[in-house]
Point group: C2
């Protein structure tokens, strides 16, 4: 495995790989890897010839500086895990190179970011969209792999890629869970033993909502209430939001259907956990789920003799 | 010459060209071509193997819809001119493909856009930065060529490319002028015969400022006044701004030096004309002028045996 810190060298590496007719799969991460990340690497390994994983704890997407400082890091273990999954390149750019001195360019995706994590984390998705645009330009990947756990982020990135015509295919990968259902997250490491035992209530609540839907309930309020009842069984849990939205627009849904996603953010102590459930996937676990549109396809015309 | 309208086909064309080891030079335009545009094509022809010119009148960069409607178009003549300069591809994407239905992603460059054309044209540079980011993703060029006439735009694009690490080299090309000094522009076609005769006062004014500087004046106010005196000789001319700024920051300069650029926007009737003079280039016409910074260069590390 190569560890590349230099951005120009990363670009040149990918250029050479692609000149050789091979494809590049890219897994962007903020490090402190868990099996959810490694699942992305395994998927990239299956679909692409060369796998690049990046570790960059992006300061601009933390609206809360304390959250940035507390974000867990373990460089040595991360490198070993990536090596064990046959990652070809670990790309670790320096923050000073990613954000040069007077950097002043931002990429913003409106609409999709008005709900869920958007209002509570001002600047977060702008930070994400900007750094992912930059990382795509650095890595030059054919496909990039993101977890569905951060579903709003995934949809923001899909929209950004579509709108800016970034020549990369975005692959969303289902959330990896512990055996008790807790979504894997770097932040789980910060839970106390007691909090860790309570945390699976989140996934139980999401499933309670889907169960209500399957049993015939399609009023959003009632579906959400089924989840809320489950969450309220753990009084240590402070719910930030619990919302049923349309996966394509991230706007609140009045009626549940197969485009619905129920998303939750909650605090256990000072650890902020998020999770979600895609109704389409809950109903048909093996179906691909994308929620993006195709482009029209006109022609090439020959003009003159040149 | 190929005329390509389809975005995916454009991307595939460039991919094939670069797989073949050839370089792609890109000249983005809004059409109604004049010799200033063709100078960009000639420069691209010199520096790159394959030349792609685009014509796309970008609706989002017109803060004034009437200006968009009035923007002159001549598709047939444009194609012939590009063919005569041995352009390989004319890329003409459809607006509906560039901006898909609910497109909501914008690229913004702050700081550089607070002065000159920024305040008077809200949203203009955001429209430019967004569409140029998208066009770069569509065309996949090695180098892209822009005229220095739109100097603030050129600096915005350089900053955006640097900040988002777009793998393209931006080449600024000196302004082409008519024999009487008027900067070539698609908008010149809308001047009446009488206005056309008055318009060269703009370039005379810019030169008057540089002359004052060469003669030892370095107070920005005095340098600008030398230009203003010349402009005031034509009372039909309505000056929107006349400002001495630092080319690297686009912020007002108090003292003139080799990083200064004097920029002007003025109305003749309802035709808005802009022009500028780079002091560095006026003092040393053959010197390259970029005003961008280099990146630091760390290492590649081999880790493990994979």
């Amino acid at each position: 495995m190569k560890i590349i810190a230099n951005i120009a060298k990363m670009q040149e590496f990918s250029r050479q790989v692609r000149l050789g007719g091979l494809s590049v799969g890219f897994v962007p991460t903020m490090g402190y890897l868990h099996d959810g990340h490694l699942e992305l690497v395994r998927r990239a390994r299956t679909e692409c010839d060369v796998v690049v994983a990046s570790i960059f704890v992006n300061p601009t997407q933390f609206n809360n500086p304390a959250d940035f400082d507390k974000y867990p890091r373990n460089d040595q273990r991360d490198a070993e895990l990536l090596l064990s999954e046959r990652t070809d390149v670990l790309f670790k750019p320096h923050a000073d190179d990613v954000y040069v001195g007077d950097a002043s360019t931002t990429v913003a995706v409106s609409g999709l970011t008005d709900s869920l994590c958007g209002p509570g984390r001002p600047g977060h998705f702008e930070g994400v969209a900007t750094v992912v645009t930059a990382l795509f330009n650095m890595v030059g990947a054919d496909k990039a792999f993101f977890g569905e756990k951060d579903f709003q982020q995934l949809q923001v990135i899909r929209r950004m890629v579509r709108d800016l015509h970034v020549p990369v295919e975005i692959v969303g990968v289902p959330t990896r869970r512990e055996s008790d259902g807790l979504a894997m997250s770097s932040r789980n490491a910060r839970l106390t033993e007691g909090q860790r035992k309570l945390a699976p209530v989140i996934y139980r609540a999401l499933n309670a909502a889907v169960d209500a839907y399957i049993e015939g309930e399609d009023e959003a309020v009632a579906v959400v209430d089924a989840a809320r009842a489950e969450l309220s069984s753990v009084e240590e849990l402070e719910v930030e939001y619990l919302e049923l939205v349309d996966a394509r627009t991230m706007k609140p849904a009045e009626t549940a259907d197969e485009n619905s996603v129920l998303a939750v953010a909650a605090l256990l102590g000072d650890v902020r956990l998020i999770d979600n459930i895609l109704f389409a996937r809950a109903l048909a676990p093996d179906a691909a789920f994308d929620a993006c549109e195709a482009h029209a396809v006109p022609d090439v015309i020959e003009y003159g003799s040149h």
